[in-house]
Amino acid sequence: MTNSIVMMAQGLTKSYGSVQALRGVNLEVRRGEIFGFLGPNGAGKTTTIRCLLDLIRPNGGTLRVLDLDPQADPVAVRARTGYLPGELRLDDNMKVEGALRYFNDLRGGKADWNFVRHIAERIDLDLKPAIKNLSKGNKQKVGLVQALMHRPELLLLDEPTSGLDPLIQQEVLGLIADARSGGATVFFSSHILSEVQEIAERVAIIRRGQIVEVAETASLINRALRRVSVRFEQPVDSQALAALPGVKLLKQSDGTSVLMQVEGKMDGLIKALAAFPVSDFETEHPSLEEIFLAYYESDRTEAK
C-alpha cells in the first residue's frame, strides 16, 4: 500500500450465518479525499466500516487502514481514526460534557478542550444537558464532536446526516469539509445521494455486498444519463431521433418540442439534430439519484 492510500480493502467477505453481507469488496481511499460510500440500506456499508475498526471480523480478504492491519493492530488504527456509528447510542445516564470527557479519557485525554467547545459552538450543541433529554439530532451532534475532537487522520462516518433536519445536515457537511481542509481523509457512507454529490470527490457504489462502481463524482454525473429538451421552428418527425442508440423519447408536444433521455455520448444526437430547424436546445445534468437508479435498473435488467 503506497503512502497515498489511507484505506484499502481487497476481496473483503463477511457473512452472518446464511446472510452474506460482503461478497468481495474492493476499495481504495486516497489520503486527503472525501470519499462517499453509497448504497441502499442493507447493501453492506455498515459492515464494511465496522470491519475497518475490528468491531467485526471479516471471513476473508485483506484490509489495510493507515498502513496497519486492523485485526493485528486495532488500538493503533482506532487511535488515529474518528468514528461515527450509523446507529449512534450513548449512555443516557451521562451529561453531554461527561460523555465527551469519557470518550476523551478513553483516548488518553488527547483532545484540546477549547477545540471541543469550538466545534460544539459551531453546531450549536449545549454541553450541559443530560444525554437522555437530547433529541436525535442533538445526539448525532455529540457523536460528531466525539469523532472530530481529537483531530483524527481518518474519519469513518456511517450515515452522518441520517435522521437530521436539512439545516443540521448542512452543518454536518460543513464540518466534514472543514475536517478535510485540516488534513483528514473522510470516508462516509450514505444513501442520500445529494449530500455525496455536494462534498465527495470520489464515490463507490455498493450493492448486495459488492462494489458496482468507483468513480470521480463529477465523471459519474457527466457520463451517465442526460435529459435533453429541444424546441423546433416547425413540426418535425421525432421518431428519427428516438431511433438513435441511447436515446429515449420522454415527451413530445405537437411536433415542435421534445424531451429526451440520452445515455452515453451526445455526438449522435447532435449530428442528427443538425438536419432539423432547431430554435432552442437545453440539457440537464442528472442528479446522482438518477444515476444511482440507472445502475440499479441496469443491474435488474441484467439479472432478468
Partner: protein
C-alpha cells in the same frame, strides 16, 4: 484500562450503596436482637420442632442456632448467596452484553482501547463492587457488636464468612459473564446462571436431610460455601476452589470476547438477531 475501570465502577455506585445498605441494615438489626433471641431459646426450640425438616434444612443445623455462629448462619449467612447472588448474576451477565445490546459498546470499542483492556477493566470493577457491598455488609455486623452481651465475635473472624461469600458471588458472576458471551442475549445468560444458583441452593439444602443428594450436592458451588461456619475457621481450599472456577469462567468469557463480533443495538435474541442483521448491514 484505568479509565474503563473508573467509569465502570462509577456505574456500580448505586448498586454498591443499595445492596450494601440493605445488608448493613439487616446486620445492624440482627446483632442487638441476639440477646433476646437467646433468652427465649426454649420456646423457640419448641416452635422449631413443629416445622418440617425439609424447611429448616436450608438454614443450616437447627441444633446450633442458639450459638452466636449458628444464629448468624441461620438468620443471615445461609440465604445471603441467594440474595446478593442476584446482584452477581445481573452484574456479571451485563458486564459487556448490556452495553452491547443497547448499542453503546460499538462506539466505546471504536476508541483506542483493546478488548482485553476493556474486559479486564470492567471485570475488576465488578470484583471491587462486590467487595464494596460485602464490606458495607460486614460493617453492619461488626459495628453493633458491642450492643449485644452474648454475641461477641472478633472483626477478623466476622470477615471470614464474607470471604466465603465473595468466592460464591464471583463464581456466579463469572458464570453469568461467560454465558453472556456465548448466548444470544444477556437476559438468557442471567436466567440460566440464576437457575443454577437457585438449583444449587436447593440441592445443597436438601442434601442435609437426604444422603442420596449428597453426591450431587458436591457438584454444586454452594456446597463449598461455608456460611457462618467460616467464623470458626475458613476452609481455604474451598475458597481457592471457588475462586479458581470463577477465574476459569472469566477466562473463557475473555477468550470468547476477544474472538467474537461486537453486535450492534437490537441484535438480541436468536430470531431478532437475524432480522436486525439483515437490516443493518
Amino acid at each position: 484500562m484505568i479509565t474503563v475501570f473508573r467509569y465502570a465502577l462509577r456505574r456500580y455506585r448505586g448498586q454498591i450503596i443499595g445492596w450494601g445498605l440493605a445488608m448493613f441494615a439487616l446486620g445492624f438489626y440482627l446483632v442487638p436482637f441476639y440477646d433476646t433471641f437467646a433468652a427465649q431459646q426454649e420456646q423457640l426450640l419448641d416452635l422449631l420442632k413443629s416445622f418440617p425438616p425439609q424447611l429448616t434444612a436450608f438454614f443450616g443445623d437447627m441444633n446450633t442456632m442458639f450459638t452466636p455462629n449458628g444464629y448468624l448462619t441461620i438468620e443471615y449467612f445461609s440465604y445471603m448467596p441467594l440474595i446478593i447472588g442476584v446482584f452477581a448474576v445481573v452484574a456479571g451477565s451485563g458486564l459487556l452484553a448490556n452495553d452491547e445490546e443497547n448499542g453503546t459498546l460499538d462506539l466505546v470499542l471504536a476508541h483506542p482501547i483493546s478488548r482485553t483492556a476493556l474486559f479486564t477493566g470492567r471485570l475488576l470493577a465488578f470484583v471491587v463492587a462486590t467487595l464494596g457491598i460485602l464490606l458495607i455488609g460486614w460493617l453492619g455486623l461488626v459495628l453493633p457488636m458491642g450492643s449485644s452481651k452474648l454475641l461477641n465475635i472478633g472483626w477478623a473472624e466476622m470477615a471470614l464468612p464474607f470471604l466465603s461469600l465473595l468466592g460464591v458471588l464471583l463464581l456466579f458472576g463469572a458464570l453469568a459473564l461467560a454465558l453472556s458471551m456465548v448466548l444470544p442475549s444477556r437476559r438468557l445468560a442471567a436466567s440460566i446462571a440464576g437457575l443454577v444458583l437457585v438449583a444449587s441452593f436447593f440441592i445443597t439444602g436438601l442434601a442435609r436431610i437426604s444422603e442420596d443428594l449428597q453426591g450431587v450436592a458436591k457438584l454444586t458451588p454452594l456446597h463449598y460455601y461455608q456460611s457462618g461456619d467460616a467464623i470458626n475457621g475458613l476452609n481455604a481450599g474451598w475458597l481457592v476452589g471457588l475462586l479458581v472456577v470463577a477465574a476459569i469462567f472469566a477466562g473463557l468469557a475473555g477468550w470468547r470476547f476477544e474472538r467474537r463480533d461486537i453486535r450492534i443495538a437490537g441484535e438480541g435474541g436468536w430470531r431478532l438477531s437475524l432480522r436486525r442483521r439483515k437490516a443493518t448491514v
